[in-house]
């Protein structure tokens, strides 16, 4: 232990899926109380609450009324699909700054049946054209100048990678096989929204959303929450041997936005900021990708998973297809990726995702992942990205390491 280390003391996610009878506060409360119990502490120990619920309607203050009001500062954070990671990062920064010894980070979302994440609003033309908006448009632009839908944007992200690296194979099948891997992984995760194995034929034959992404290659809209209790190194030393043994060390916690790149005004650049976050995280932790036993990355679409192999340095530059084809990213490979089933099958309740993927990694590092345990896992990486863009990367290590 080092004096400035921050640890995860308790962490938990709810089952992801449909929770028609429970609201965002119910879900956030379940995850929070479970995380507190997991850490062996109560709200009396918590000095800061960072709370994310991107699409509303809840706030951290509403959660406090459900589980304990102690007058501590509440930060309600919003950062697209990186909202959960931002809540985590906020609590970590508060502890690091010496403001408190323990913090609670929570992310929750209800998305079941939400349809497309973006570009979902009906649009219609006006009766008489009048330029308006930032490019003086006279009519809605979605579908007339490109697409704003997430499946379409991320489809282009994946296709651009193939173009940049002169891929000549069967692109649709390649991306479908990435999805097939994650759906297969999900069969071992009881908390995943969907736990069915899917054949390549089923995936490729599913409803086309935005080529090459079919429905089963898109993140699953669902309900869920996740929460984590963070603690300073100094405070952890005063806790029980069991608490210390199960604590997970945060070797790196990084949040980036996208630096300017030539094409970022026409297609969101999800690569540069992820590369920057990964580089900063590896440097902060003093480790490299070869030291990782598992990775949970932001496969909001099958096309996204491919590019992040490269962005996170899991392969040689340009080698994402080769890495996947080698089988390395399967759960029995040497660089298991998304053993939870990933967003495509575990689900993607937006603000919960950036804490739930950390939970997945912690679950393995503690040796508590049951049927899907990656044997001997000591170090893992969790990555999320929100369009706009925001990227969170956390590198985690077991206490016994």
């Amino acid at each position: 232990m080092a004096a400035d280390d921050i640890w995860i003391l308790g962490i938990r996610m709810t089952k992801f899926g449909k929770h028609p009878d429970r609201d965002t506060i119910d879900l956030a409360a379940e995850a929070s109380m479970a995380a507190l119990a997991d850490g062996g502490v109560t709200m009396a120990d918590i000095g800061i609450l960072a709370f994310g619920n991107l699409r509303g309607p809840s706030t951290g203050q509403m959660l406090q009324k459900q589980i304990g009001q102690t007058g501590i500062p509440v930060f309600n954070v919003a950062n697209a699909c990186a909202t959960g990671a931002t809540a985590l990062r906020t609590a970590i920064m508060a502890i690091k700054a010496g403001e408190c010894e323990m913090g609670l980070a929570v992310g929750v979302e209800k998305l079941a049946g939400a349809g497309l994440l973006s570009g979902n609003a009906a649009q219609s033309d006006v009766n008489v054209y009048e330029p308006s908006g930032r490019v003086g448009e006279v009519a809605p632009l979605d579908g007339r100048i490109g697409t704003v839908t997430m499946p379409g944007v991320f489809a282009q992200v994946g296709m651009e990678y193939l173009y940049n690296h002169d891929y000549t194979g069967a692109e649709f099948e390649l991306f479908a096989r990435i999805s097939q891997k994650n759906h297969a992984h999900s069969t071992l995760n009881p908390l995943a929204a969907y736990t069915k194995e899917m054949s390549l034929e089923q995936i490729m034959g599913d409803v086309m959303i935005a080529y090459p992404n079919t429905r089963s290659m898109c993140s699953a809209n669902c309900d869920g929450a996740a929460a984590a209790v963070l603690v300073s190194d100094q405070k952890l030393r005063t806790l029980s041997a069991r608490q210390q043994a199960r604590a997970i060390k945060i070797r790196a916690s990084v949040l980036t936005s996208d630096p300017w790149q030539e094409a970022c005004q026409v297609l969101p650049d999800v690569n540069t900021l992820t590369r920057a976050a990964a580089k900063q995280a590896y440097e902060a932790a003093g480790v490299g990708p070869e030291d990782l036993d598992l990775v949970e990355l932001h496969d909001c679409f099958a096309t996204a998973e491919l590019v992040h192999y490269d962005n996170l340095g899991l392969c040689a530059p340009g080698g994402a297809v080769d890495l996947f084809e080698s089988g390395a990213t399967n759960r029995n490979g040497n660089m298991p990726v998304n053993v939870s089933g990933g967003l495509e099958s575990k689900g993607h309740p937006i603000a919960a995702t950036g804490i739930a993927n950390v939970w997945e990694v912690c679950h393995h590092l503690r040796g508590e992942a049951g049927d899907r345990q990656i044997d001997g896992a000591r170090m893992g990486l969790a990555h999320v990205i929100g369009l706009g863009s925001a990227c969170g990367v956390h590198i985690l290590e077991s206490a016994s390491a």
Partner: protein, 133 residues
């Protein structure tokens, strides 16, 4: 002939329709919307420059599922025009992966995207295949 209005202000109509970018005079970064300062170098001077009309399709998707009111399927892509990236639909081509290919040569084309109650046509743009197909 009905009056025409461009779909967006960065499309210049006339005999040789083309796109117009706002170029940072300091670093050459190009934008299709207004910026207070260059996102790349923070320079505050911009000049209008015409963007070429021929390019290469660097990425695409075929959108099959969109918001109500958006006609599908359509091809959305990114065209590299001599180093300037342009967001555009790919038009005058069957919207399937057998016809739309990464790296294909494309050129700017205009099309009527709608007509208002006053009879004014809104003219949009897309990129179409530049080689006989």
């Amino acid at each position: 002939m009905p009056t025409q209005i461009p779909l967006v202000d960065y499309l210049e109509l006339g005999d040789a329709p083309h796109l117009v970018a706002q170029e940072c005079t300091a670093c050459g970064a190009r934008y299709f919307d207004r910026r207070n300062a260059c996102a790349g170098c923070f320079g505050t001077e911009f000049r209008s420059v015409p963007v070429g009309t021929e390019g290469t399709l660097r990425s695409f998707t075929i959108v099959a599922h969109a918001a109500p009111g958006v006609a599908t399927p359509f091809v959305a892509g990114v065209v590299d025009v001599d180093g300037t990236s342009v967001k555009s639909n790919i038009i005058n081509i069957p919207p399937d992966p057998e016809h739309v290919r990464l790296g294909m040569k494309v050129r700017l084309a205009t099309l009527v995207v709608g007509t208002d109650d006053a009879g004014t046509d809104a003219i949009g743009f897309g990129f179409e295949p530049a080689e006989g197909d």
